[in-house]
Symmetry: C2
Amino acid sequence: MSETKNFTLAVVPGDGIGPEVTTEALKVLDAVAAQHGVTFERTEYDLGAKRWHATGETLPDAELEEIRKHDAILLGAVGDPSVPSGVLERGLLLKLRFTLDHYVNLRPSKIYPSVGSPLADPGTVDFVVVREGTEGPYVGNGGALRVGTPAEIATEVSVNTAYGVERVVRDAFARAQARPRKKLTLVHKNNVLVHAGHLWKRTVDAVASDFPDVAVDYLHVDAATIFLVTDPARFDVIVTDNLFGDIITDLAAAISGGIGLAASGNINPDRTAPSMFEPVHGSAPDIAGQQKADPTAAILSAALLLEHLGLTEAARAIETAVEADIEERTGAARSTAEIGDAIAKRAAG
Amino acid sequence: MSETKNFTLAVVPGDGIGPEVTTEALKVLDAVAAQHGVTFERTEYDLGAKRWHATGETLPDAELEEIRKHDAILLGAVGDPSVPSGVLERGLLLKLRFTLDHYVNLRPSKIYPSVGSPLADPGTVDFVVVREGTEGPYVGNGGALRVGTPAEIATEVSVNTAYGVERVVRDAFARAQARPRKKLTLVHKNNVLVHAGHLWKRTVDAVASDFPDVAVDYLHVDAATIFLVTDPARFDVIVTDNLFGDIITDLAAAISGGIGLAASGNINPDRTAPSMFEPVHGSAPDIAGQQKADPTAAILSAALLLEHLGLTEAARAIETAVEADIEERTGAARSTAEIGDAIAKRAAG
Ligand SMILES: CC(C)[C@H](C(=O)O)[C@@H](O)C(=O)O
Ligand SMILES: CC(C)[C@H](C(=O)O)[C@@H](O)C(=O)O
């Protein structure tokens, strides 16, 4: 008789379509849990726009400390037009990523043969972006003077450290080494952002000597967007800073079947705090509560969560179920729950 | 008898394919000059990698002051792998843009029916990006400490002022108002870069009241990359900051027939200094000197130059010639000079 292992999950459904897609991700997690000998004990955290309107809170420290005690975090989406832009993003989502030291923001892209790409001839696309998650222009190190006057000045400071860059670059090299093509592309803008850019470039060049079998190249971020539409098959592993990673992973999602399929993991590779899994898409307030959102990205994020917890077979079961579901998509509209049901059924085998 | 008007041009061929494409742009300028009653008196400036290797100079102040005396500047491309990344870009190209106060970096995108787009179904694409040219993360306001040690820290500061944002936003509104669709999209990332982002957003909202017939919307830069591949026809005029503008205009070029066709103007709308016209593409050192570069982007940049000098008919003659040339492209390879010859011949009528 095998023992059942229990994992604790903190669940943050969030705003907009977040709750809907999270429901389906949890449904699919439950569907695979039993046959892989695990259970997931969930605690839901009511954070986001509603909470902020009611209490003015985004993420109180006490709740953050509770969340920290879990094995992993599943998040839906954050952001709502009724809340000033940035309040929830900075106060909730980025606070989680920064405090829990999610320095590897992992975003795989793959074109499924049966899913249309807006590209006429995309080729075989299967790459992963390792986006730095705790530095860059996202640090919140900016300010404004004389706001609302003709003399206003607003700054945003991108902070990059050898410590922060090296650890994410090492992670990306290790991922590249474990893949068949063993190729790493650094994306930055080192011809303009010379201080940050040269730190990134020097770090990649230095770490490369520990990974002699990994081929390395460099692209400016503007050129990278060109290749993402003209030759996305050239990419294997991309490593880049927080802001460039934000931009190119949305583009990557767009060329590979849409933002409805793009999963992500905010990973703390040192496991000093729980990692967090969420779809790349935002809260899409325009379609919220209408069962129109595709939960596949959230479901694939749950697969990344399983993978991170070492439940590789269970992760594969979800991925296989998603692939089978995708292969049979006819274009007929299904509700969020219908897609979740179909994938859960397949994943349960 | 009509008089011939003479304009003075400072020409900076630059690096890589810069000289080749500049030769063709000048050829086409000459071809249209005569019948439009103008001449162009050119002074060529030997700036770029060769000069830097020989003298260590990128753009001495004396030469900058000479260049400033011209009616306009035509630039090829800047940057070479033999020079540390950033030296020529910051010391030459950005020094020109910043010192000559090119606050409107104008980058039109258009899909010509006969030119293949990597998009399967792009629709009718005809928009223009107004990229801010004198602020943002391009100001060079960053630094590094303890370089080369494990304690290194590198920063890049994005500087945004009400003065700088309002003037480019007003320019973009005026351009939108003059176009049939009268639509302006602000692209930023105001949910993360809250100080700069809110300054941009507030400025657009305020200036909008002076342009009541222009429809305004807002997109985060990540979402904008999605729309650029899934629905580029939705855009009319985009206004955005220096770095986001850099990124999305390369993407815009990629979806609309390639970087070989993308022209740009670095414009000083107040005419306190000459404006500068250059292709969006870089110096492409890998194909330099091989007559492989498409000079069309440089030629279309010359058309923007004519337009800026008030020579609208001459500008149209070049655009019409380019369109006719493009419509007849068969895919057979032509040299840089052959393309220039063909367009010059057509433009001469
Ligand atoms: C919602 C927003 C703060 C977030 C980001 O910019 O990181 C999102 O775009 C993402 O990519 O996860
Ligand atoms: C060469 C480089 C400095 C430049 C820029 O980043 O502005 C180029 O990419 C452009 O878009 O004109």
